[in-house]
């Protein structure tokens, strides 16, 4: 609607300027050719007819300026909402994920320290019963063997830390990418017109595997074995000892 109104004003302005030029030329020629006077008067009349439209132009421009100012204000609010609420929240979530990863790594290392010490104790138990043939010594050796197996099993379970760290890391990478995209959108809405800011590519990690999983390890290992067996049949054996 506004666009149609402005197009109409611009057409009026264009027409008025054309008529004004014709009028100026006509006034110059009337001195030499008085017969052209009626034509010049017609042009002047037509120019006068354009006036109502042209008079409305300044008001229309003023309204347009006010509308643009309001739009820029809305853009500024949107930009602040993106920066403050969305991007900041993403940043905080990313930091929390990193904190969780760090906490589980610390806890896992403490558990591993504890397991190392427990295994040393099992070694001592083994050492104490070694070479002895008594019934109690045999039982100690048996218990030590069982304990060693249990403790070793616990080491294996702690692989979950590495896998979940990769999952959390991958989620963090994703958040970082979204955060960068949001910042790029916010930069586009900068009221100072800084549209030249480069749209940075989200950082892609080569360290975190988004598909890392603690589930179905046996099935996935079988797939790896199958692929290796197929490759071995299709090509000469890989270098070996």
């Amino acid at each position: 609607m506004e666009r149609t109104r402005f197009a109409s004003y611009l057409a009026d302005l264009d027409n008025a300027l054309r008529l004004m030029q014709e009028l100026v030329c006509g006034v110059r020629t009337v001195e030499r050719d008085p017969a052209r006077l009626p034509h010049v008067l017609n042009v002047a009349e037509a120019l006068e007819g354009q006036q109502p439209g042209l008079m409305a132009l300044p008001e229309a421009l003023h309204q347009a300026y006010a509308a643009i100012t309001r739009a820029l204000g809305d853009v500024r609010v949107s930009r602040e909402a993106i920066c403050v609420h969305a991007a900041d929240r993403l940043r905080r979530t990313h930091a929390r994920l990193a904190e969780v990863t760090s906490a589980t790594e610390t806890a896992t290392n403490r558990l591993l320290d504890g397991l190392d010490r427990a295994l040393e104790m099992v070694d001592r138990l083994d050492g104490a019963s070694a070479g002895r043939t008594g019934e109690a010594d045999a039982e100690v050796a048996e218990v030590a063997k069982g304990l060693r197996a249990q403790l070793t099993g616990l080491y294996d379970i702690l692989q979950f830390q590495d896998i979940t760290a990769q999952q959390l890391g991958a989620a963090g990478d994703l958040l970082e990418g979204v955060e960068q995209r949001l910042e790029s959108v916010a930069a586009l809405l900068e009221p100072d017109g800084s549209l030249e800011r480069e749209d940075t590519e989200p950082w892609r990690s080569s360290v975190n595997d988004a598909r890392a999983s603690t589930l179905d390890a046996t099935v996935r290992q079988q797939l790896a074995d199958t692929v290796l067996a197929e490759a071995a049949r299709a090509a000469p054996p890989a270098p070996g000892p």
């Binding site: 790594e105 896992t108 290392n109 591993l112 397991l115 070793t152 080491y155 294996d156 702690l158 692989q159 979950f160 830390q161 590495d162 896998i163 760290a165 990769q166 080569s206 360290v207 975190n208 595997d209 598909r211 890392a212 999983s213 603690t214 390890a217 996935r220 290992q221 079988q222 797939l223 790896a224 074995d225 199958t226 692929v227 290796l228 067996a229 197929e230 490759a231 071995a232 054996p237 890989a238 270098p239 070996g240 000892p241």
Partner: protein, 125 residues
Amino acid sequence: MKCLVVDDSATMRRIVINALKSIGIAETSEAANGAEALQACDPSVGLVITDWNMPVMGGLELVRQLRGRPETAATPILMVTTRSVRDDILQAVQAGISSYIVKPFTPQVLKEKIDQVLTGAAPAA
């Protein structure tokens, strides 16, 4: 035999080293990425166990580099990784791995694969 364990996770290196001890391989060395591993992989290393996803230099590039060096061209390399998509496994095979273990693994699987690569036995599907 000395085994070089390459993983950016110190926790994971400890777990692998403990698993190696439990199957009778006590002599180990460690590296936190492929670049460190290239430095650490001297002629005394008889087996390399490497992760895939690592900073600085990943496991795949490490395998390629080791295969390109005459002194390590035949060193058995086990890739131990969370990656288990067919294309990833094929990529590792093409780079020159000797065997592939999916995390989380058990010491039994580790022993089976180590025995396989040290004896030169064909991988069983």
